[in-house]
C-alpha cells in the first residue's frame, strides 16, 4: 500500500466524481421520461403500440450496455452520411453519446419497473375514482402515477445503483469519469490496487447515499 499515492489521487478522483454524477443524473432524468412513456405504451390495448414498447425494452435489456455505447459512439460515427447531418453536432461529443446510451438503457428497465407497478394497482381503486365522477386523465395523473411511483421505489432504487455502476463504461469512450481518471492515474503510476480501491470506495459511498435516500422515501410514502 502506497499511502502517498492514495493521498494524491484522492482529490483527482473526487473531482472526476462530478462527471460521474452528471452522467448519472442526466441519464436518470431522460431515462425516467422514456420509461414512463414506454410503460404507458405497454399498457395500451393496441397490440402494435404495446408490441413496439415491448420491442424497445427487449432490445435494450437484452444487449450489454457496453455494446450499446460502442454502437452509438463508434458505430454511428462510421456512417458518413450521418456526419453531414445536424445529428453529428450531438453524436460527435462522447458526453452526449454516453448519455444517449445510458438513457435508452435505463429507460428500458424503468419502463418495466413502472409497467409492473401500474399492473399491481387494483382495478377497484380506479373504479372508485370513476364512481366519484373523476375523468380518465385525472385518475391517471393523480391516482395511478402516484401509486405506481410508490410501488416502484425499491426496484427503482436498485436501478439507480445499477446505472451508477454502468456509468463507469463512459471511460471506454474517452470520458474522464471516476473510472477514466483511475485508469489515467494507473497508466502513469502502474499501481492499480491503491487507485482502484479509492475509486471503488467512492462508488460505494454514492451507493450508500442513494440507498438511504430511497429508504427514506419509502418510509415517507408508506401507506398509513
Amino acid at each position: 500500500m502506497d499511502l502517498e499515492l492514495i493521498m494524491t489521487s484522492f482529490p483527482k478522483l473526487l473531482s472526476a466524481t462530478v462527471v460521474t454524477l452528471k452522467l448519472l443524473s442526466a441519464s436518470l432524468f431522460f431515462g425516467l421520461f422514456l420509461g414512463l412513456f414506454f410503460a404507458i405504451l405497454r399498457l395500451n390495448k393496441n397490440r402494435l403500440v404495446s408490441g413496439f414498447a415491448y420491442g424497445y425494452s427487449y432490445l435494450f435489456r437484452g444487449t450489454p450496455l457496453l455494446v450499446q455505447i460502442f454502437i452509438i459512439y463508434f458505430g454511428l460515427g462510421q456512417i458518413e452520411y450521418l456526419r453531414t447531418t445536424f445529428l453529428w453536432v450531438i453524436l460527435k461529443e462522447p458526453y452526449w453519446c454516453a448519455i444517449i446510451a445510458f438513457s435508452l438503457n435505463t429507460g428500458a428497465y424503468t419502463s418495466e419497473i413502472l409497467r409492473s407497478a401500474f399492473e399491481t394497482i387494483k382495478p377497484g381503486i380506479i373504479e372508485a375514482g370513476r364512481s366519484l365522477g373523476l375523468n380518465k386523465i385525472f385518475i391517471f395523473t393523480k391516482i395511478q402515477i402516484p401509486i405506481a411511483i410508490k410501488q416502484s421505489l425499491p426496484a427503482y432504487g436498485n436501478e439507480i445503483i445499477l446505472m451508477l455502476k454502468g456509468t463507469s463504461l463512459a471511460s471506454t469512450v474517452t470520458l474522464m469519469d471516476i473510472t477514466g481518471v483511475a485508469k489515467f492515474i494507473i497508466s502513469t503510476t502502474f499501481r492499480p490496487v491503491e487507485v482502484f480501491i479509492i475509486a471503488g470506495s467512492i462508488y460505494l459511498f454514492i451507493t450508500f447515499l442513494v440507498h438511504n435516500l430511497i429508504k427514506y422515501l419509502e418510509k415517507k410514502y408508506r401507506y398509513q
Partner: protein, 287 residues
C-alpha cells in the same frame, strides 16, 4: 457415487490442464492490437513483428515460450504481478517505465508521427522531416513552436499510457486537448470519424491502417524520437530487486534479462531482426 466421480475427474482434468505449463516456460505478453508490431489475424491468432521475433528469441535461448495476450493498460502491472515474464508489445524504453520495470537492449526503433485526414488544415505544416528531442537545438525548438501553433485548440487523440500521451501532456506542444483511448484501433476509428483533429502514434501504425482500411489518413509534421519518446523498443522485464535480488524469483528474473540480451545479440548478428522488420514494416527498423 458416479456423479461424485465425474465431478472429481472434471476438477482433476481442469487442474491438470492449467498446470501443463512448466515453471520454466517463459510467458511473453503482447497486446495483439498494434499492427504491424503485434496484432491478431482474422482467425484470432497473434501475429506481427514481435510475435515472430519472440518465437525466434526463444529458439536462440533454447527455451519453451508461450505468448499471451494482455490489454495495454494493464501490461506493466500484470508483469509485476508475475502473470507473465516478459513484455514484447512495441513498448519503448523510457525513464518513467524504468522506475518500475527493466528493459533488455532495444531491438527495434520506433518513430512517432502525427496523422490527420486528407484535406485537414494541419496538412502542409512546414517542419524538418524528423526531430530528435534528446538532441534538441534550434531546429527542434522551431519545429515544436510550429506544431504548438498548429495544434492550438485542436483535439489530438492517442492511446492511454503511451509515450505519445506523455509527450502531448508534457507541455512541449502547448496545452492541446488530449483524448485517450484503450486501443490504437479506437484512435483510428475516431480519427476517420472526424472526432479527432489529429492523432499521435507510431508512424507505422498509421501507414498500416491507411493501407489496410483504404482511408485517407496521412502523416503530417516531423517524425519524433528521443526525449519522451524513449530510446527504441525493448523487452520489458521485472526488476530482479522487486522480489529480492537474492531470492529464487529475483535470480530467475535477472537470468531472464541476460538471456534476452544475448538472444537479441544472436538474432541481430544472424540478420533475423532486420529480416523480420523488413517483412512487417516494409523497411529495416531493427536496432
Amino acid at each position: 457415487m458416479k456423479l461424485k466421480k465425474i465431478i472429481l475427474s472434471v476438477f482433476a482434468s481442469l487442474f491438470l490442464f492449467s498446470s501443463t505449463l512448466s515453471a520454466d516456460t517463459i510467458r511473453i505478453a503482447t497486446e495483439g492490437a498494434y499492427p504491424p508490431w503485434n496484432s491478431k489475424s482474422e482467425d484470432g491468432k497473434l501475429i506481427g513483428f514481435e510475435v515472430e521475433l519472440a518465437n525466434w528469441l526463444c529458439i536462440y535461448m533454447a527455451r519453451d515460450c508461450k505468448i499471451v495476450e494482455q490489454d495495454w493498460d494493464g501490461m506493466i502491472p500484470a508483469l509485476r504481478m508475475r502473470k507473465y515474464d516478459a513484455i514484447m508489445a512495441g513498448m519503448s524504453i523510457t525513464d518513467e517505465r524504468k522506475k518500475v520495470i527493466t528493459f533488455s537492449q532495444g531491438y527495434a526503433d520506433e518513430v512517432a508521427s502525427l496523422a490527420v485526414m486528407k484535406g485537414s488544415s494541419l496538412e502542409g505544416m512546414s517542419t524538418p522531416e524528423g526531430i530528435n528531442l534528446s538532441i534538441g537545438g534550434n531546429d527542434v525548438k522551431a519545429a515544436l513552436k510550429t506544431i504548438t501553433g498548429a495544434l492550438a485548440g485542436k483535439t489530438v487523440c492517442t492511446q492511454t499510457g503511451t509515450i505519445h500521451q506523455n509527450f502531448l501532456e508534457s507541455g512541449d506542444v502547448g496545452s492541446v486537448d488530449v483524448r485517450t483511448y484503450k486501443t490504437q484501433d479506437e484512435v483510428n476509428l475516431d480519427l476517420t470519424a472526424g472526432r479527432c483533429d489529429a492523432a499521435l502514434a507510431a508512424a507505422v501504425a498509421f501507414t498500416d491502417y491507411a493501407e489496410k482500411s483504404g482511408k485517407d489518413v496521412v502523416l503530417v509534421g516531423p517524425t519524433f524520437s528521443g526525449g519522451h519518446f524513449g530510446n527504441g523498443v525493448g523487452v520489458g522485464l521485472r526488476q530482479d530487486a522487486q522480489f529480492g535480488s537474492d531470492s529464487a524469483l529475483g535470480k530467475r528474473d535477472a537470468q531472464l534479462l541476460k538471456d534476452f540480451n544475448s538472444a537479441i545479440d544472436k538474432a541481430r548478428k544472424a540478420g533475423k531482426i532486420s529480416e523480420l522488420a523488413t517483412k512487417w514494416f516494409g523497411f529495416d527498423a531493427s536496432m
